[in-house]
């Protein structure tokens, strides 16, 4: 249970900027969006300023206005509202260095998984086949029979 919190924090760190950035009603019903929403106007502005740095990291494709950049080196920690969701209570804390998010913590997070948070962190590509020079093989080799036929057996000199 304890370990769910760092897991969620990492996920939140990756996604807070995305939630904040995406306009429109796409996130309706997305439980954690409310948790990431700040409490005050001033915080809203700070997070808005952060968008230009954060967005390329997560999506890499969205055009981003740069006009709000300000060079503040001030460190500020902002806690979001605690929000009750069907999954449990969610609350995040965001640390800014000037206009840049330097840390995000989940102060409270539900234990339920799976989350739907990590997709933007994944790269998608086509499956390729190669016969590369390797030292060992990772694969699901559960049986002795399967092993005899396997690349790993060849590497071990067992076939």
């Amino acid at each position: 249970m304890k370990r769910a919190i760092p897991v969620l924090a990492l996920s939140v760190a990756g996604l807070v900027p995305v939630w904040l950035y995406s306009p429109g009603p796409a996130h309706e019903g997305e439980i954690n969006e409310a948790a990431a929403a700040p409490e005050t106007q001033q915080q809203t502005q700070n997070q808005a300023q952060n968008q230009p740095q954060a967005a390329p990291k997560t999506t890499g494709s969205t055009p981003v206005p740069q006009q709000q950049q300000q060079q503040q080196a001030q460190t500020r920690t902002v806690s979001g509202r605690a929000v009750n969701t069907s999954e449990g209570t969610v609350q995040v804390q965001v640390t800014f260095q000037g206009a840049k998010i330097t840390d995000v913590k989940a102060l409270r997070a539900p234990n339920s998984n799976p989350t739907r948070m990590a997709l933007p962190l994944l790269r998608e590509s086509a499956l390729k086949a190669q016969s590369a020079d390797i030292d060992t093989v990772s694969g699901a080799t559960a049986t002795s029979e399967g092993y005899k036929q396997s690349l790993q057996a060849a590497i071990d000199g067992a076939r």
């Binding site: 249970m1 370990r3 769910a4 760092p6 897991v7 990492l10 996920s11 234990n111 339920s112 998984n113 799976p114 989350t115 739907r116 948070m117 990590a118 997709l119 962190l121 994944l122 790269r123 998608e124 590509s125 086509a126 499956l127 390729k128 086949a129 190669q130 016969s131 590369a132 020079d133 390797i134 030292d135 060992t136 093989v137 990772s138 694969g139 699901a140 080799t141 559960a142 049986t143 002795s144 092993y147 036929q149 396997s150 690349l151 790993q152 057996a153 590497i155 071990d156 000199g157 067992a158």
Partner: protein, 246 residues
């Protein structure tokens, strides 16, 4: 002296490729794996797991090792909403999915504590590596292609780390979703890179049991990088995956 040895333990072919060390050190690692099999196999009537399952031991009477294994089982079961479970209906307690990676990681720790600094342990396709096979080069860990048995679909370059793959290669095999009891669909192969095989292996197994939901679940796990092939042969990989360019 380099040592290479293969032994079948826990129903798995376990290969040790020890670049610095000796046969006695390799034997200590294998001895631990045989001990783990004796203590934690649900198929051995005298094992601690079987005795717990029959009610001959209470949770308070368990060894710290089994307590650790069961707490890992519980954590992943909770985290996957029951898709991953060590309590398969009709089969009793079966913590094998956790025991394997956990025990092999400890075997690797025994090698390291015994002074070995460059080795590769491969247990049924789950891998722990240390150091470098030759100076300046990482261990090249190929991930078996889900359709073509003698080819790989990616090569990882790993020094100190763990790589585990959960996959279905042959028709007729199946992994059940603990929530529904039905065979899992959606993923052909999931590979997890982490610094500990207990984590990598259990994450791969648990993600597989989640089906398509397992893609994002695995990617969100702390300190885990993933390489996942779905049924449509699309690949999803973490940006932090240590892909080795051959």
């Amino acid at each position: 002296m380099p040592v290479r040895r293969v032994e079948h333990i826990m129903g798995l072919p376990i290969s040790v490729d020890l670049r610095d060390g000796d046969a006695a050190l390799a034997e200590r690692a294998f001895a631990w794996l045989r001990e783990a099999d004796d203590r934690f196999s649900p198929f051995k009537p005298d094992s601690e797991v079987s005795r717990l399952d029959r009610g001959e031991l209470t949770r308070e009477e368990l060894t710290p090792d089994l307590v650790e294994v069961l707490s890992l089982c519980d954590w992943y079961e909770e985290s996957t909403g029951g898709a991953f479970t060590a309590h398969v209906p009709g089969r009793g307690l079966d913590p094998c999915a956790v025991v394997k990676g956990w025990a092999v990681q400890r075997a690797a720790d025994i090698l390291r504590e015994g002074g070995a600094s460059a080795f590769c342990v491969n247990a049924g396709g789950d891998v722990v590596t240390a150091g470098e096979p030759e100076p300046g080069k990482p261990w090249r860990v190929g991930v078996r292609h889900p359709d073509i048995a003698d080819q790989v679909c990616v090569v990882l370059g790993v020094r100190d780390g763990a790589v585990a793959t959960s996959a279905l290669y042959e028709r007729g095999q199946h992994i059940l979703d603990g929530r529904t009891g039905q065979p899992v669909t959606g993923i052909l192969s999931i590979t997890v890179f982490s610094d500990d095989l207990a984590i990598a292996d259990t994450t791969a197994t648990a993600a597989f049991a989640l089906g398509r939901d397992g893609i994002e679940w695995a990617a969100a796990q702390e300190d885990c990088e993933v390489f996942i092939v779905d049924e449509d042969r699309r690949v999803y990989s973490s940006p932090g995956l240590p892909v080795h360019i051959c």
